[in-house]
């Protein structure tokens, strides 16, 4: 009998262990929540009022008072990009004359970093400056934790004319710039010039339809295994909507007010994309290479696919992997049909100043932001990482000129950015990470033949609309 009791107890403990992996973190979230609750409650849900209320508290100290101030910078840049950040931060620490000391901390990928931020918002334990991905913009705006960059820009009378207008546009809502673009990229089309020459194609296709027209030629004469390797990536789907000049969500793409539903089902944007994608897939020209932005790159670098879609930030990696086996060409991200009049929007991440109710820290944070935005820093950043220089002033730097001479393909990205009107800045959505995953999963089902285009569009819209409704129910 005794043994049985022990056994049952052991069972209970062992099984409870299974819960702790998840429960423990929820606990941290909870503790993070309770203290911040009061603060969040007052500002949350009413983003603009909340932000206005912060203005009074978020005063910035004078630059002369900040000596000895330490600020923490949370970022999500691993590998080479992380080294570039460490270099810039070290340079700032060595060279700034105000006595500011910055600690840069890698906090894992964007999702992880945002989750940690949520847990850390007990008092002033978190960071002062944090890098958040573009689809977290609405979340950060509504969080009640932040000081809009615009306040700092205004307080310091900082000249923003050099900042790329298309980059700033994404983070500007109601004429107020909420965060500072830092690592921005757009998607472009990479193509194998050798295959195009062999197939005798002189005009690089600029739309999905055209890829379908020349695709067979690339396979038959150009020696390609497949015409295009296109990863199933929510970002590409969003870009193809922007390229059509249509909107992803209602309420002006979620920019006039928080979106209440998606718009891509009713305005036909999604159907156009999926129809074109499906037809490429059915003809065997665009096989399913998997989910994610990088999924199609390996096929391209290996010389299997003639075309791939990827971020501008992948350029260096691609050139390195291709290693001169063939010549890599770059072109604008394709439209869906020739009649499309839109442009690309941006991806990447921006810098958010957190409100720690410390004027000195705020000033120190702002000084760091200004340093990171300087032409010199941006030219270095661009050369090291392949992200856009955020400021056009960087174009005058020698580092930038050398880099563009070495990688002339990057000019395509800059031209494409300048050719896109800021009005195609893309949508803001509170549930964007989830929406993106839904889109990817439905496209996957479509390409695997589990559902047709109409069903895929309907499922996407229903599922995302439900998420939006759920979110608005508990967060307003």
């Amino acid at each position: 009998m005794k043994k049985k009791v022990v056994a049952v107890l052991l069972t209970a403990v062992m099984t409870m262990g299974t819960l702790v992996g998840c429960g423990g973190k929820t606990l941290a979230e909870q503790q993070g929540g309770t203290d911040a609750a009061a603060a969040a409650e007052t500002t949350e849900g009413a983003a603009t009022e909340g932000a206005a209320a912060q203005d009074s508290t978020a005063a910035m100290a004078d630059a002369s008072e900040v000596s000895g101030t330490e600020v923490t910078f949370w970022h999500s840049m691993g590998g080479v990009n992380g080294e570039a950040i460490d270099y810039l931060v070290k340079k700032f620490n060595d060279e700034n004359k105000l006595g500011i000391k910055v600690t840069a901390q890698y906090q894992g990928e964007y999702d992880d970093s945002l989750n940690k931020l949520k847990s850390a918002q007990i008092g002033n334990m978190g960071a002062d400056l944090v890098q958040v991905y573009e689809i977290g913009t609405r979340f950060m705006m509504d969080s009640g934790w932040i000081v809009p960059m615009q306040d700092l820009i205004d307080a310091d009378s900082y000249d923003t004319s050099a900042i790329e207008p298309n980059l700033a546009a994404y983070y500007t809502i109601d004429g107020k710039q909420y965060s500072m673009p830092f690592n921005s990229s757009t998607p472009i089309m990479y193509y194998n010039k050798d295959m195009f020459a062999k197939a005798g194609i002189t005009e690089v296709p600029n739309r999905l339809e055209a890829i379908g027209e020349v695709g067979q030629q690339l396979v038959d004469k150009g020696g390609a295994g497949e015409a295009i390797s296109m990863g199933i990536y929510g970002w590409f789907f969003e870009q193809l909507i922007s390229e059509q000049g249509l909107q992803y969500a209602d309420n002006g793409n979620g920019r006039d007010a928080a979106a209440t539903a998606v718009a891509f089902d009713e305005n036909g944007a999604a159907k156009n994309i999926l129809t074109a994608w499906k037809s490429l897939s059915e003809s065997g020209l665009a096989p399913n290479v998997g989910k994610g932005g990088d999924a199609g790159l390996a096929d391209f670098s290996a010389g299997k696919s003639a075309i791939t879609l990827g971020s501008t930030a992948s350029l260096k990696q691609i050139l390195q992997d291709v290693n001169n086996k063939f010549e890599v060409g770059t072109a604008y991200f394709p439209k869906v049909a020739s009649s499309d009049k839109g442009g690309v929007s941006i991806g990447g991440a921006s810098l958010w100043a957190l409100n720690n109710n410390d004027p000195k820290k705020l000033r120190a944070t702002w000084e760091l932001v200004k340093f990171l935005l300087s032409a010199e820093s941006q030219a270095y950043w661009n050369a090291q990482t392949g992200y856009f220089p955020v400021t056009t002033a960087a174009h005058e730097e020698q580092v930038f000129k050398d880099n563009i001479a070495k990688y002339p393909q990057f000019q395509t990205a800059i031209d494409q950015l300048h050719d896109s009107a800021p009005e195609y800045a893309g949508a803001l959505l509170s549930v964007f990470p989830e929406a993106r995953a839904t889109v990817e999963s439905e496209i996957e089902s479509l390409l695997n033949g589990k559902e047709d285009v109409d069903a895929a569009v309907k499922n996407m819209a229903d599922s995302i609309n439900k998420s939006i409704a759920d979110y608005n129910e508990v967060n307003s």
Partner: protein, 288 residues
């Protein structure tokens, strides 16, 4: 007698305090909190916001995605448990005899124990890549292993089985060492063949450790996470969306802690039931 008993109860309970404190902070409190949260709709901060009663459970039980997760989890657990235990057992039996190079082989078989699931997953990701992966090159096939709903689950399950086999190898080796050699000698004298010896002596001799390994393996299989996050992210078409991954997704991606907590509670109940059934069976099958 009475006096001694009273004294016993007081001081010994004091000794329990440190461990109970640890348990309360890391086990009981989160456990209670999870149950509490599962009854609410939570906001993006993970705070309970709207009381929802058993609504989260109802939503789950009527959601095809949840039932798919259950199905996937069971298939996954089955492949992993059977695979890893078989692999562990076979390798342990092979290494039970002394032969030249045994150290190399035992190290190789125990090695998966030392490999982090995420790094193993990254290596497999490269090996299984359809265009540049070695698996397709060697087999001369063109299968998109991780992006085909028909193969993805088997790929992650086999990887997990291999990863878990290392520790099983260790357990079984220890178990084999405990079996008295003399019974084999006696069996040989009686004319028992190798196969008969294995099924009539080795397996029963291993049964206590086998039972323990089985329980641990089942729990471990249900909790596999890292390799799924890296290799498939629950896809394609949710074909690898095991329940632990679904919990992660709901909690830290979709910010639906209520639904995630409800799934955790259901997972807890399932594992508890399985374990209780196992302990019941133990009485019949295990010979100490």
């Amino acid at each position: 007698m009475n006096k001694a008993k009273k004294k016993w109860s007081f001081t010994s309970y004091c000794y329990l305090i440190p461990s109970m404190l640890v348990f309360i902070v890391f086990l009981f409190y989160p456990f209670a909190k999870t149950i509490y949260l599962s009854l609410f709709k939570t906001n993006k901060m993970g705070q309970a916001k709207i009381f929802y009663g058993i609504g989260n459970y109802k939503d789950l039980l009527s959601s095809p995605s949840f039932w798919n997760s259950m199905k996937v989890t069971l298939i996954f657990a089955l492949i992993v448990v059977v695979g890893s235990m078989l692999l562990g057992l076979v390798t342990a039996v092979l290494c039970n005899k002394a032969f030249p190079g045994i150290r190399f082989f035992s190290t190789a078989y125990a090695l998966p124990m030392a490999i982090a699931s995420s790094s193993a997953a990254m290596i497999f990701e490269m090996m299984l890549h359809p265009a540049v992966g070695i698996v397709n090159k060697l087999l001369g096939l063109n299968i998109n292993w991780l992006n085909d709903p028909n193969t993805a689950l088997y790929c992650v399950a086999i990887l997990t089985a291999w990863l878990n086999s290392g520790i099983n190898f260790l357990y079984f080796s220890a178990g084999l060492g405990n079996i008295d050699d003399s019974i084999y000698e006696r069996a040989s004298v009686d004319g028992a063949s190798g196969i008969q010896q294995f099924f009539n002596l080795t397996l029963p001799g291993l049964s206590p450790i086998m039972f323990y390994t089985l329980v641990v393996n089942i729990i471990q299989a249900f909790q596999s996470f890292g390799q799924i996050k890296i290799l498939t992210e629950g896809g394609p078409n949710e074909s690898t969306n095991v329940i632990v991954y679904s919990i992660y997704r709901d909690a830290f991606f979709n910010y639906k802690f209520g639904s995630a907590s409800a799934q955790s509670v259901i997972l807890f109940i399932i594992i508890m039931l399985i374990t209780m059934v196992m302990f019941r069976i133990e009485k019949k099958g295990v010979k100490y």
